[in-house]
Every structure is written in structure tokens, then in C-alpha cells.
Assembly symmetry: C2
Homo-oligomer: 428 residues x 2
């Protein structure tokens, strides 16, 4: 076992450079833990001459990323990104040539994870992706191995650091979404095109991977109902706080009979729940197992150091020979579970209306709720906004989501509503 594990590295963005730094800085410790040296032998990226703060001269350089799969290496680390294109092509080719793959690419796994896992198992090579979900937090390992003795009822968490940063800052400073987003972009905490993050797509990619591991099902990204944080107002955060909640973008996957329910949506999280105390760009994942109970994993969900830490942890597992089916069981054993209907779920809801300030509006909303069978726990109407509209917030008792959907459907197109209502779920 003293043979060197030879690594070819594709992509030298923040995380790629971080992987080099981790291997350099902790070289002796990693060799002792891995049982043998882990060496990068070749790298490939778009720009050879960009200063990344690490010495690349000792590695073979390839302009063409695809060439990495043809080298004499044991593992290809794919940090290019993108669900298809060069990343997918490289992963497929590397596995086809009998090389292991380590990737941080949640989009690729959400869309092609089943295919890649099947190919890796057939080739007898590792496919590992700890860095793809929740950055440095070992939650892939936590579900695949740590909680493996349990039937998981539900896995959920805060999976996108950008959204949590924005929501935490809105909460702390009472500012509105657009304002905080602009600042986050200026600081580099949000992308110029932020939609992958703030519309929940990134979190949905990650959730579909967690769900596959937790439920022994095929990754089913298309089944994730996805709603981001664009419509959350500072006023919603204030109303939630007054009710004893904080607003977080939560991804939830839960078993529902033979089906599987997956959703990314802003939630009201009660203050006594650990997720309410997850602030800034931190991520946290909770798994509810039938024997272990509630397990919580929390840490840095992104960034150079944490993500590189997860990539190198995968390399150490591979160097040790401690790896197996990527999704915790053979890909062929993963079930195809139908998407469960959200209407069947029960829970409490927060619905915020922005309405015209005139006689009869409240009666119209209350009637729609009554006719759909929604039981109202509290209703708060605040004085008129500067534009003359009025905010009405309803918190429902526990009941089927179908009823709330029907009530909102009854109100659709009503002249009383100044904008679309915002429906958020209350985490229990």
C-alpha cells in the first residue's frame, strides 16, 4: 500500500487550487492517514498563466481537459462544473478507462449520477462526491455509511450558503432581498447570474443526491418542487420573527408510502429547531432515522478550504481502498420511486397576501380559506403600505396542503390581490 495514488486534476478554480493547497499543507498527515502518498501528476484548466497562488510547474499541464483521462493516473478529480459538456465527457471517459472519479459537481450527479454510478461499479472503480453536497460537511458519508442501519423518514437541511447568507443578513439588518443580493454580489458571495442559487436549483441538485442516498432511490432531480427566495420580503422575516420563527431556504425529502416527496422552499423554522440557528453561509443537514433519531451535520457549505477538504477526504478513502457503490447500494438496486403528491402532505402554512385596501378583501380571503377547508390559527393585518396596499398574513392550523392550494386557486385572478400570495411551509 505504499504505492502513490496518482491524481489528475481538471479545473483550477477556487476549489481546484484549494485541493493543491490542502495536499501541500497537510502532506505528511495525509500520507499517514491515507497509508500512502497522494500526488497530483497532471492538471488542466482554461488559462495556464493565471496566478492561483500555487506552483503548477511541477505538474504536467494539459490544455485539453479530455486528455487527463488518457494519462497514467489512478483518479481524475473533476472540478470543471456543469451538468453536461466537458465535465460529463471527462467523467465518462475516465471511468471507461478504469480510473476513479472524484467530483464536486452536483448538477452532473443530479442529472447523470445513476449512469455514472452504474459505469463506475461495472468498471470496479470509485466514484465519490462528498464535495458535491454541503461543502466540507461529511454528509454524503454520514448518510451512505453513518446512518446506514436506519430507514430514513426524512432528510432535510440548509443546502445553499448564498441563500442563507442573504436571508440571515435580511434578518439581522431588516433589509430587503434585492438590496442584500446586490451587496452579496459585490462581495463575491453571490454570482453575477444568481438564479441557480436564489431560485433553489443548486439546493435541489444537492437534495436529489441526498434523497438517493437516504432512500435507496434513483436520483430524481426533475421531481424536486423548487421555489427560491426572491419573493421573501423583509416584512415576512419580521412577521415570522414575531411568531417565533426564522425563514430559511430548506430542502426536504421524505418517504411517503412508496413515493418520495422532494421540495426546496422557504420555510418558517421554529427557534427551538437547530436549523433556526444556522446563520450566514453555513450549511446544515438533518436526517431522521428510525433507530438513530435525529442526526445533525453542520459546517461550512462552500468555499475553497471546506470544499477542497471534502475532495481530499474522498481521495484518502480511495487511497485506503475504502470505497464501494457510490449511492450506498448497487445502482441496479436503487428504486425508481414516484414523486409523491404534495397535496397529501399535512402541515402548517404561512401565507402572506398583499391586497388592496378596500372593503370586503378580508372577507374574500377568509371565505376562500373556509370553502377550501383551511383552518386558520392566526391572521394579522397591518396598516397600509406606502403604496396603499395592505399586508395580510395567515398562519394555518395543521392540515393537508391540498386545501391551502385550493384556497389560493380560488383567489387566483382576484382583483383584491395586488400581487401573488407567498406561501411558506412551517417546519415541524
Amino acid at each position: 500500500m505504499s504505492d502513490t495514488l496518482r491524481v489528475a486534476l481538471a479545473g483550477l478554480g477556487t476549489v481546484g487550487a484549494g485541493v493543491i493547497r490542502v495536499l501541500d499543507t497537510n502532506r505528511d498527515l495525509i500520507t499517514r492517514r491515507a497509508g500512502r502518498p497522494i500526488e497530483i501528476v497532471a492538471v488542466s484548466a482554461r488559462d495556464r498563466h493565471k496566478d492561483r497562488g500555487v506552483d503548477l510547474s511541477r505538474f504536467e499541464w494539459l490544455d485539453d481537459t479530455a486528455g487527463l483521462a488518457a494519462l497514467d493516473a489512478d483518479v481524475v478529480v473533476e472540478l470543471i462544473g456543469g451538468s453536461d459538456g466537458p465535465a460529463l465527457s471527462l467523467a465518462r471517459t475516465a471511468i471507461g478507462r478504469g480510473k476513479g472519479v472524484v467530483t464536486a459537481n452536483k448538477a452532473m450527479l443530479a442529472h447523470h449520477g445513476l449512469e455514472l454510478a452504474s459505469a463506475a461499479e461495472a468498471a470496479g472503480v470509485p466514484l465519490k462526491f462528498e464535495a458535491a453536497v454541503a461543502g466540507g460537511i461529511p454528509v454524503i458519508k454520514g448518510l451512505r455509511e453513518g446512518a446506514a442501519a436506519n430507514a430514513i423518514d426524512r432528510v432535510y437541511g440548509i443546502l445553499n450558503g448564498t441563500c442563507n447568507f442573504i436571508l440571515s443578513k435580511m434578518e439581522a439588518e431588516g433589509r430587503d432581498f434585492a438590496d442584500v443580493l446586490a451587496e452579496a454580489q459585490a462581495l463575491g458571495f453571490a454570482e453575477a447570474d444568481p438564479s441557480f442559487d436564489i431560485d433553489g436549483i443548486d439546493a435541489a441538485h444537492k437534495l436529489s443526491i441526498l434523497a438517493a442516498l437516504a432512500f435507496g432511490s434513483q436520483p430524481a432531480f426533475a421531481d424536486v418542487a423548487c421555489h427560491g427566495i426572491r419573493e421573501v420580503l423583509a416584512a415576512d422575516i419580521a412577521e415570522a420573527a414575531a411568531l417565533g420563527y426564522r425563514i430559511r431556504l430548506v430542502g426536504v425529502a421524505e418517504a411517503n408510502g412508496g413515493g418520495l416527496f422532494q421540495r426546496v422552499h422557504p420555510h418558517l423554522v421554529p427557534l427551538h429547531h437547530p436549523l433556526a440557528h444556522v446563520a450566514g453561509s453555513t450549511n446544515a443537514v438533518v436526517a431522521d432515522g428510525n433507530f438513530v433519531g435525529r442526526l445533525l451535520f453542520q459546517g461550512a457549505g462552500a468555499g475553497e478550504g471546506p470544499t477542497a477538504s471534502a475532495v481530499v477526504a474522498d481521495l484518502i478513502d480511495i487511497a485506503r481502498g475504502e470505497f464501494g457503490p457510490p449511492f450506498a447500494m448497487p445502482a441496479a438496486a436503487l428504486e425508481q420511486r414516484p414523486a409523491a403528491d404534495s397535496g397529501d402532505r399535512r402541515g402548517r402554512a404561512y401565507v402572506r397576501f398583499t391586497v388592496a385596501d378596500r372593503v370586503g378583501v378580508l372577507a374574500e380571503i377568509a371565505a376562500a380559506m373556509r370553502d377550501a377547508g383551511v383552518s386558520i390559527e392566526s391572521l394579522i393585518q397591518r396598516g397600509a403600505n406606502p403604496d396603499g396596499s395592505v399586508r395580510v398574513v395567515i398562519v394555518t392550523h395543521d392540515g393537508p396542503e391540498r386545501s391551502v392550494a385550493q384556497a389560493l386557486e380560488r383567489l387566483r385572478g382576484s382583483q383584491s390581490l395586488a400581487s401573488q400570495p407567498l406561501w411558506m411551509h412551517i417546519l415541524d
Copy 2:
């Protein structure tokens, strides 16, 4: 890989019966995840006829636990307990006969972990112990594998559920230690002889195991400075709360030059720290890595289901063939690190004195602090207790622990003190 993993189970207390229940309840799922069936073939315990709520008739029964090592089994699960005696003898014999060992026995590992790991490596068999620390929380795996790319600066946490239950209840209900302990004993949350728990010995066993994994050092239980919660008063909890802290029994291990510092002690935990929100019998472990930053693992630290979940997770790893050196690196590579002197550590301290109510006492304490170079951040004296004594609480500025120790040494034997002062550390 469709061969059954054959398991011999020693000890049928709560956890042992739980292991049988987990394997029965989640049989299909576990087989899919493990890649092959995991079957108990034989059991041994003190009393064959006790009703444990599980059907034992399908297993071979041995009255003599030692006989399990001689059976045709792949793995022996040791749940007898005790650092030496039959547990150690069984583990040694099983390894000697080429069988893997899974154990929840923290005391045995703290005292004999190095020997057992060396023997297991020499025999090429697994030795796994996820259940030995923090019950169902996969923190052994989190350190051994999840954080393996990092140099760990510090690992610390709430490692004893009984103490946390008692402290949380004292906090919530304003009751004193002895009162809550008696209730915990009546409820079965504390042992009839509670000293292993409340004097911190159980937490120290666990800490020494975590430290070995985190720092690549030999387990060094004898080097853990250990102080339990017997002396914590309801009044201390109230004073701490007024200052913005909660009191928790925290085990801390940290690298200190070439040395290693290990301590179990009641700490003041600031409210913004996640450990302050860990209530009841929950456990939580934090690891600070040089790339990953702060990782938090939280969940049920004891009990039938969680502990059995961890035992079965180890069996699944073994069934998958995913195991290696028990302490993350070959036992021969573990360093023997000297115990670091606590005097060199810096930090803030809480010191509570119970003093006679007479002229000059405060001056005597203040002079002792001054002469030892302790800088006082705040001093609170409350009116006399019913017995005429007075409580004085001092919070120090950041400084070397040596100075606080010297100040207390100067006051030793003073006629002004009604009892030993209680010194607690403030977690930063």
C-alpha cells in the same frame, strides 16, 4: 459478495437487544446497503431466560461468552462493557482467531485501544467502535474519514448525556444538583453509582478516543484532566445565565506544540455557540480543521436505538469491505505525544467563591488575584446565603491558566473561604 456476514453477539443488555431489533426491522434495507445479508448466528449473555422483547431461539446460545471467539463467525460484537475482564479477553481472542471486532466499549478502547488496533491490523481484521463515542452520531467516522484531509486544531464536545440531562434540568428548573441527580436515577437516566458519568470519567474515555483519531496520537486516557459536575450549583447556572452563558460539561482536546492537551471540565458556553443549545441527553462534537473550519455533529448520545444504529453501521462497513486501520492510520504511526501543561493555555475563567461574610474577605481575594497577575473582568458579590456565607463570582480577562491556579493556590487554606472555590473555563 453475497456471502452472509456472520455475527456473534456478546452482551444482551439494552444495546445488544437493540442490535437484534435493528437487524430484524431494517433487514431488507440493510442487506441492500451492505451488499450481502448480515446475520447473527450466536449470542451470549448472563441470563438466558430474561425477557428482552426479541426472539433469541433462532440463535445459538453460549453460556460462556469466551466461546463466541471459537465459533464459525466473521465478526464478534462485544457489548459486555468494562475496560478489562471478559470484554478485553473476548476482543483479544477474537482478533487472535482472525475475527473482526465491533465494540461500544469506550473504557476498553481508552485503556487498550492501541494494543487491540495493533493486533487487528496484524491479523488483517476490522476493529470498529462507532458506538463507543456519542452513541448514534457518526463522529468516529467523521474524524477518521470525513475530516481526514485536515490538521485538527481542537476537538471538543458534549460527550455525556447524563451530565447534560442533569445540567439542562438544573438550568430549566432552577434546581440543585443532588435533587436532579436523584430524579435522574429514579427515571433510569443515571446509574445507581453515577460517578463514571458525573465525575467525567465516561466523557474522558470518549475524549481520549476522539483525540487519538483527530491528532494521530496514541490514546492517552491517563492524560485527561478530569473534573465533573458535582460542585456546580443552581446559583452558578443562574450567574452564568446572567452573563450570557450556559454551563455544559465539555471535553476538549487540542494540539499544543508537540504536546496534546486533554480536559473534561464544566465550561461556560456562550449563547451564540451551538453547544449552548444542546439540551437534554443529546451529544454534540465539534472539530476545528485547518481547511474545513468548524464541523459540528449532533444527535442522540446514548440509548438503545442510537447506539445499536452505530453498531450496525460498523457491521455494514465490514460487510462492504470498507474498513482499515481503526485509529485512521496504522497503530505504529500513532505518535506518543506528551501531555501539554494546562498552565500554558490562555483563556477566560469563571471562579466562584463561597466566603465568610466579614470585613476584608474581598480584599484578600482581590489581592491574591492581583499578586498572581490575574486581570478581573467582572466581580459579582451577592447578599448573604441563608447559612451566612456569601457568594463571590469573578470572571477574568483572557490570560494564562497558570495565573488563576496561582491565585487559588495563594488562597488555599484561607479562613475566609467557606468551601473550595469552583473554577470553570469559558469556551471561546
